[in-house]
């Protein structure tokens, strides 16, 4: 390490130190403020999206955030974030918690902590039928659209290294580009793909969801590193929701028959904060 790198390291360490001590105990800070700021996407139905009637952000993630705010006895403030901005915003303390369709994986564990897994989904590909693609490997060399800064792009690259990936700021833009024919496929979490597919209406006949999963994505709430007190409250709240049956109700409210997704069974329980990969 030369002198320049040493100075840089010292500056960064100082920044980390100052940043770290300013939030000695986040839980105490939240209670003192009487407010918890939760980062959501607001563009990803049904996890968090804008209800066209009330113009408010609603969804599965939002209801979980509400339960946590209620448990803490504080006011809930939602902050809309771009997919790529989620982890940095949490690390820099501009939000207290992430409830933003966030995948829990080993790489991210180096950066932030996660709550108990709140949802398990796979990532899938929606393709245009006129491309004659029926399986994931056929995407080789083809233009595939998705969102910047999530796990979608790395997962697709792992599954089909030669696919030409084009990314956008929101999943909505990538989906519009697919509809306009600017690519042959669009990658997203299965539940979001199902919601998008439902929005196509009569045009559904021109599209196909490939049956194969690109990956299995455990979703969880994101918590800043080194905040065991806050993590405990969040996990306790989730355990209580599971025990009382409220978690299952929330699942069917957003993913069940009344939703666009129409899941008949709930294939998981909120119980663990461990992931395999």
């Amino acid at each position: 390490m030369n002198l320049r790198n040493k100075i840089l390291a010292a500056v960064l360490a100082l920044v980390a130190f100052v940043g770290g001590t300013a939030h000695a105990d986040q839980l105490a800070d939240i209670k003192k403020k009487g407010e918890i700021v939760v980062g959501v996407l607001g563009t990803d139905e049904p996890n968090s999206f804008i209800d066209p009637k009330t113009r408010e952000i609603v969804g599965y993630d939002v209801d979980l955030a509400k339960a946590i705010a209620r448990k803490l006895g504080v006011k809930l403030t939602l902050k809309q974030l771009a997919v790529a901005a989620r982890v940095p915003e949490l690390e820099q303390g501009r939000v207290d918690l992430l409830a933003a369709s966030l995948t829990h994986n080993k790489e991210r564990e180096a950066k932030i902590d996660f709550s108990l897994t709140t949802f398990i989904t796979g990532q899938k590909v929606l393709v245009r039928k006129d491309s004659n693609i029926t399986s994931v490997p056929q995407l080789a060399g083809k233009k595939v659209l998705t969102v910047k800064g999530g796990t979608q792009e790395p997962n697709l690259r792992k599954a089909v290294p030669t696919a030409e990936v084009v990314t956008f700021e929101t999943t909505g833009q990538a989906f519009v580009a697919l509809q306009q024919g600017k690519g042959v496929g669009y990658v997203n979490d299965e539940v979001s793909i199902l919601a998008d597919y439902a929005k196509l209406g009569p045009a559904q006949k021109d599209f196909l969801i490939l049956p194969q999963n690109l990956s299995i994505e455990p979703l969880a709430l994101g918590i800043r590193k080194g905040e065991p007190a806050l993590k405990k409250v969040v996990d306790d709240t989730l355990r209580e929701l599971e025990k009382s049956g409220e978690a299952e109700k929330l699942f069917f409210k957003w993913y069940g028959n009344d939703s666009k997704i129409k899941f008949q069974v709930r294939p998981f329980k909120i119980e663990s904060d461990k992931v395999d990969s």
């Binding site: 390291a9 960064l12 999530g150 792009e153 790395p154 956008f168 306009q180 024919g181």
Partner: protein, 232 residues
């Protein structure tokens, strides 16, 4: 443990290749848009100075319509909006190619040309009107008087502000990331989401923007020293 600033990540390997290809794309966007915008800017400036009222008015409308809308909106329009108005066959032909870069070049060209045309127009207006009148009196047409007498002098005055617009164009290419053009900011974000090395990725991008911008500024300084503005 990985170092706080991993210089190797920038010097070799996949991430290096991604960032370098982003830099090349950004430079190409700048080069192509600059070449097109310069020509378009001169045409618009001449249209605005032409004796025909309708032409003057349409030149004015073009410049104001473009300058008063943010570049981000231009990008989204030329990518998501405009191509949808094309006939089906042409649209499919375009979509099978690099529609992202094409849309970005159109947006950057129009946006830059609107600003440059104002600089060219001021340059032309700085040349005394008698020169143009003398050329006309000697029997040159409007276009020939402009091309042979006024423009050679006007462009000399105009080069410094045009270099400054080129500097803006260079930085404006970063907006193309929103329509999926794999330029420098796009590749930096890609490296960030694949490796979580945000600091290295954006340090590289910033160094490239700063370095190239300084070169352009240097070119402007050199030009002004070498070809000072002459009293007309």
């Amino acid at each position: 443990m990985t170092p706080i600033f991993d210089l190797n990540l920038l010097l070799t390997g996949t991430y290096h290749d991604w960032l370098l290809s982003g830099l090349i794309t950004s430079l190409s966007l700048t080069g192509i848009s600059l070449a097109l915008a310069l020509h378009l800017a001169i045409i618009i400036a001449l249209v605005r100075l032409s004796p025909v009222k309708l032409l003057q008015w349409s030149g004015f409308a073009f410049v104001e319509a473009i300058r008063n809308v943010p570049l981000l909106a231009h990008m989204l329009f030329w990518y998501f909006g405009a191509p949808e108005l094309l006939p089906t066959a042409l649209r499919e032909w375009l979509y099978a190619r690099n529609v992202e870069a094409t849309s970005a070049i159109i947006a950057l060209t129009l946006y830059t040309a609107a600003y440059m045309s104002e600089d060219v127009r001021s340059g032309i207006r700085s040349i005394p009107g008698q020169q143009f009148e003398a050329a006309r009196a000697l029997g040159f047409s409007f276009v020939a008087s402009m091309r042979l007498v006024v423009l050679p002098q006007a462009l000399r005055v105009t080069i410094p502000p045009l270099i400054s617009q080129t500097l803006n164009l260079w930085k404006d290419t970063s907006i193309a990331t929103v329509i999926g053009v794999a330029e420098l900011m796009y590749q930096a974000a890609k490296v960030e989401s694949a490796s979580f090395r945000s600091f290295e990725a954006f340090a590289f991008a910033s160094a490239c923007y700063l370095g190239m911008s300084l070169l352009i500024t240097g070119a402007a300084a050199w030009y002004q020293g070498r070809f000072p503005v002459r009293a007309a």
